[in-house]
Amino acid sequence: MRYHTPTSFADAATIAASTTGTLRFLAGGTDVLVQMRAGMVQPDDLIDLKHIPGVDQVVQTPDGGWKIGIAVPGIVLGGHAGLVADWPGVVEGMNLVGSTQVQGRATLTGNLCNGSPAADSVPGLIAAGATVTVTGPVGSREIPVEAVPAGPGKTNLAKGEVISSITLPPRGKNGGDCYLRFIPRTEMDIAVVGCAVSLRMDGDRIVEARVALGAVAPTVILSETCAKAIIGTTLDDAALAALTKAAEGAAKPISDKRGTKEFRIEVAGVLARRAAKIAYDRAKGLKA
């Protein structure tokens, strides 16, 4: 295995484009090293992106959003007061990934590129409307987060392409988000179901909403029907019931070692309801 330490994304893309065997990028390494240890992946080339300047930075964009470097670990996001204030749902999703130790290494970008439908940080990013910058041999492009995963373990990135940053939009006023997941233990599990809700209020009424469901389909789902169920409402019982039904309808899960299809469908509704309430309270400035 060749271990590369490029100092720019352009170089990283060039190396990636030139490889012929199995290639992996290394950010936090919390997935790649596990796969190597298990013998699932034996990379011929491993490109460590952490020598590229700026990858460990979180910076505010001119419009008030946030640009997050691809090697910023969860523990740094969790300790970033500005980010936590704007996007608590995004941060809590990331902070649910693995242990304290894993938080010291794991990154949003890695969690996204691992391509797992159960990735805890992805629903929050999608609900937030986050985008990623993709750098390839011939330049960069900006795509929404939901366009990255292609199915379990797969992404839509082309050969030679690498994500060079994640951008969260400006939170703006009267917004709130939340991510909840269901796991059998209290920690250390892969989500059986995950749900993120991001919304904006006008007074007591929801005027914008995005709802993302994890672990209930081959990729994280951005559900229009869930959003429609609560937009224009005060999140009263009828709206919550409609949201529950919409989430159950949107979920298209399978049964596997972590949960049954029926269980996932039902819990998708439960989590959507609970996450919406928390996001609603956060948008209203209530502590939750």
Partner: protein, 749 residues
């Protein structure tokens, strides 16, 4: 109430001094199985079957051997033939013969100059398989038409006409069961299932083996019993046990799973083929989960008769237990006697079959068989208590075994503490704590026989009056401290002046492993006897010095004293004085005791657990947990509490989330701690403990052994608490959220 506060007349027993190995263990200096390295050492890797059942057509290692740095490959063809019985079982499991019998079954091993190279080489060993039909579930294996996995391995006990996957059969009982059921007000009957779980010790199996051209070898290994490792490895390799010297490392947990061999002989076989270079073999976690001893999975029918006042009139069980693809590995012989061990019931019938399936060779796991049996019987007792609106502790007090009761399996209980644990549980504040919505309380009792076993201990008095004790039972949870306390108490010297060492196979007679809750009981008992021998010899030395009869000398407070006024007036001669001049008074002073330790005291415990269940997701949270158990005497109460708490935590894991999940392809789907979900710190509350002390008359200090019983009650107690919280009874472990949610919904409908 800890024993510290109880007046016993003991100076040291019941105190909580620091353990002697504590310093090494908090500084990283303690050496575990994988921490040994030797000059010239090679590293090994094992090739494992990806199939649940397959004929091994061909093994081609030529590509692996062609790599620079690869020094040896071993397959079954390198092992001797002609073994029988359990020796053959061990050899068959060490390396597959004609067939791979489970996902993860070892097929070949390779040694190379680095671990990474050995893993590369293992991937280059080409094995051609012919896949055969498989079965992994215990009930499916018993179904008509199930593939017969091991034709002809059934032992003498199986009557003609039983299913071809039945390997052993057992039946016993007493009284007229039918009359008992007829006398009952209600008779209930259900089937309960438990999935296989793994001991889950955090240290993977590891060893370094070295074996030269002369057939003599050495091994450093993490094990609960190095004489077992020696005997089993020698048998598998066809060498004499005396040619093998086995040194135990510190051990990172065992819980029964390190009482046997899995891959250890391979390090020796590879070493021999690699010209005698030492070979280190360390399992990965997935190898541990796929190929080392899980416990059995069980399917159990239970029938009970109860009168309205709670009197149990009769009981009947039929257990089906699967212990892998090898005969003799399921704990039916333990589970059946444990089933009703807590009760005194006039009529009982016990029946069980061992079922062969394509799963790894089961090993002992903490009170083997007892947790499953308790789940079945204690769950049904609880169901009937709820139906009749009876207090579960009162019902157990009414029917519980007590001193002089004839046990459900034959012997008469001597002095036991079951009722004391029930009374203490009833009096504990947890039992009357108020419960909120969606909360429930479960109670269950549990039993373990405890074990004595082959034991050999030597004690040597030092020139400065200290004592060195050589024991053969590896210290997993503080037994060096407890044995040191007993020896110091016996000799009347400070705890700090006693050093207890776990020594290698060349230094003592044969010892059974640290299993069956026996280390503090049996090695402790033998150490006390050895100390008494040394004391007698020191009294003789003092007598000779004083010129009086040895009978006229007594030992107390660490010194020889003239016994009574007629013996003469001499100042006490301390162990230090005697030790300092032992060279001139007859030579070194030591004591030695070896015995198959009898006199074990049966162990009983009662647990009370409160849970809260999320009615929308079926997720269970443990709110409070209480363990009450009879220790006999708690030598070092902190480590007794630790055993109670650890057993409870393992039982909670078994009850809630731990399980072996096999796919339709017969492969283990969760061989990783991510998905084999043992409890993490945030899953548990503090675990309250009450140490009941009903001393065991069969031990000089009343020890019963405390290691195993604690894992038994949590399975039924948690399920019963969930039933209390939700009204839904889970009869198939684990009580995982999907199952609990489905049961809640079914109950509502």
């Amino acid at each position: 109430m800890a024993r510290d506060d109880v007046k016993t007349g003991y100076k040291l027993i019941g105190t909580r001094p620091n353990r002697p190995d504590g310093l090494d263990k908090v500084t990283g200096r303690a050496r575990y199985g994988a921490d040994f390295s030797l000059p010239g050492m090679l590293h090994a890797a094992v090739v494992r079957s990806p199939h649940a059942h397959a004929r091994i057509v061909k093994i081609d290692a030529s590509k692996a051997l062609a790599l620079d740095g690869v020094k040896a490959v071993v397959t079954r063809a390198d092992l001797p033939t002609g073994l029988t019985g359990e020796d053959l079982n061990l050899q068959d499991n060490t390396l597959a013969g004609e067939r791979a019998l489970y996902d993860g079954h070892a097929v070949a091993a390779v040694a190379a100059t680095s671990a990474l190279l050995a893993q590369d080489a293992a991937r280059l060993i080409e094995v051609t398989y012919e896949v055969l039909p498989h079965v992994t579930d215990v009930d499916t294996a018993m179904a008509p038409g199930a593939p017969i996995i091991r034709e002809g391995v059934a032992d003498y006990s199986v009557p003609e006409g039983m299913h071809g996957n039945v390997a052993r059969y057992m039946e016993f009982g007493h009284g007229d069961v039918e009359a008992g059921f007829a006398a009952a007000d209600i008779v209930r009957e259900h089937t309960y299932k438990t999935e296989a779980t793994h001991q889950g010790y955090i240290e993977p199996h590891a060893c370094v083996g070295q074996m030269g051209e002369d057939g003599r070898g050495e091994m450093w290994v993490c094990t609960q019993g190095h004489w077992y490792i020696r005997r089993m490895s020698a048998a598998v390799l066809g060498i004499d046990a005396a040619n093998l010297r086995v040194t135990p490392s510190e051990i990172g947990g065992g819980f029964g799973g390190k009482t046997t061999i899995f891959m250890e002989p391979l390090s020796l076989a590879l070493s021999r083929k690699a010209g005698g270079r030492p070979v280190k073999l360390v399992m990965s976690r997935s190898e541990v989960l796929r190929a080392t001893g899980p416990t059995a999975s069980a399917s159990m029918d239970v029938k009970l008769g109860m009168k309205k006042d709670g009197t149990i009139t009769a009981g009947q069980v039929f257990f089906r237990m699967q212990g892998g693809a090898f005969v003799g590995m399921s704990p039916i012989g333990e589970a059946l006697p444990c089933a009703f061990a807590c009760y005194d019931i006039p009529a009982l019938k016990h029946e069980a079959v061992e079922v062969i399936a394509n799963r790894p060779k089961a090993a002992a796991y903490r009170a083997p068989g007892s947790p499953m049996a308790a789940f079945a019987v204690e769950s049904l007792v609880d169901e009937m208590c709820r139906e009749l609106k009876l207090d579960p502790i009162e019902v157990r007090l009414k029917n519980g075994a007590t001193n002089g009761s004839k046990s459900s399996y034959g012997p008469v209980y001597n002095v036991i503490g079951l009722k004391e644990t029930l009374e203490a549980a009833k009096d504990h504040p947890n039992y009357s704590a108020p419960l909120g919505p969606n909360q429930g309380r479960g109670v269950a009792s549990g039993f373990w026989f405890n074990h004595g076993g082959e034991t050999s201990v030597t004690l040597a008095v030092g020139e400065d009056g200290t004592a060195t004790v050589m024991i053969g039972t590896p210290d997993i949870g503080g037994s060096r401290a407890s044995i040191g306390l007993m020896v110091a108490e016996t000799l009347g010297i400070p705890y700090e002046n006693v050093r207890v060492n776990v020594v290698e196979t060349g230094a003592l007679g044969v010892n059974e492993p640290t299993h069956g809750s026996r280390a503090t009981f049996a090695s402790g008992k033998a150490a006390v006897e050895a100390a008494r021998q040394a004391m007698a010899e020191m009294c003789r030395r003092a007598a000779a010095d004083w010129g009086i009869d040895p009978e006229a000398v007594e030992w107390k407070d660490g010194a020889a004293h003239p016994a009574g006024p007629n013996a003469g007036k001499f100042p006490p001669m301390t162990i230090g004085e005697i030790g300092s001049k032992m060279g001139s008074t007859g030579g070194p002073i030591s004591g030695h005791h070896e015995v198959t330790a009898e006199g074990v005291g049966a162990s009983f415990g009662t647990h009370v657990v409160d849970v809260e269940v999320d009615p929308e997701t079926g997720r269970t949270t443990i709110l409070r947990y209480l363990v009450v158990q009879d220790a006999g005497t708690a030598i070092h109460p902190a480590y007794v509490e630790g055993q109670y708490q650890g057993g409870a935590a393992q039982g909670i894991g078994w009850a809630l989330n731990e399980e072996y999940v096999y796919g339709a392809d017969g492969r283990l789907q969760n061989p990783i701690f991510l998905d084999y979900r043992i409890p993490v710190a945030s899953d548990l509350p503090m675990i309250d403990t009450v140490i009941v002390e009903v001393p065991n008359p069969g031990h000089p200090y009343g020890v019963r052994g405390v290691g195993e019983t604690g894992i038994t009650p949590p399975l039924p107690a948690v399920a019963s608490a969930i039933a209390g919280a939700t009204g839904a009874r889970i009869r198939s472990l684990p009580c995982s959220p999907p199952k609990v949610l489905a049961a809640i919904k079914a109950n509502r409908a």
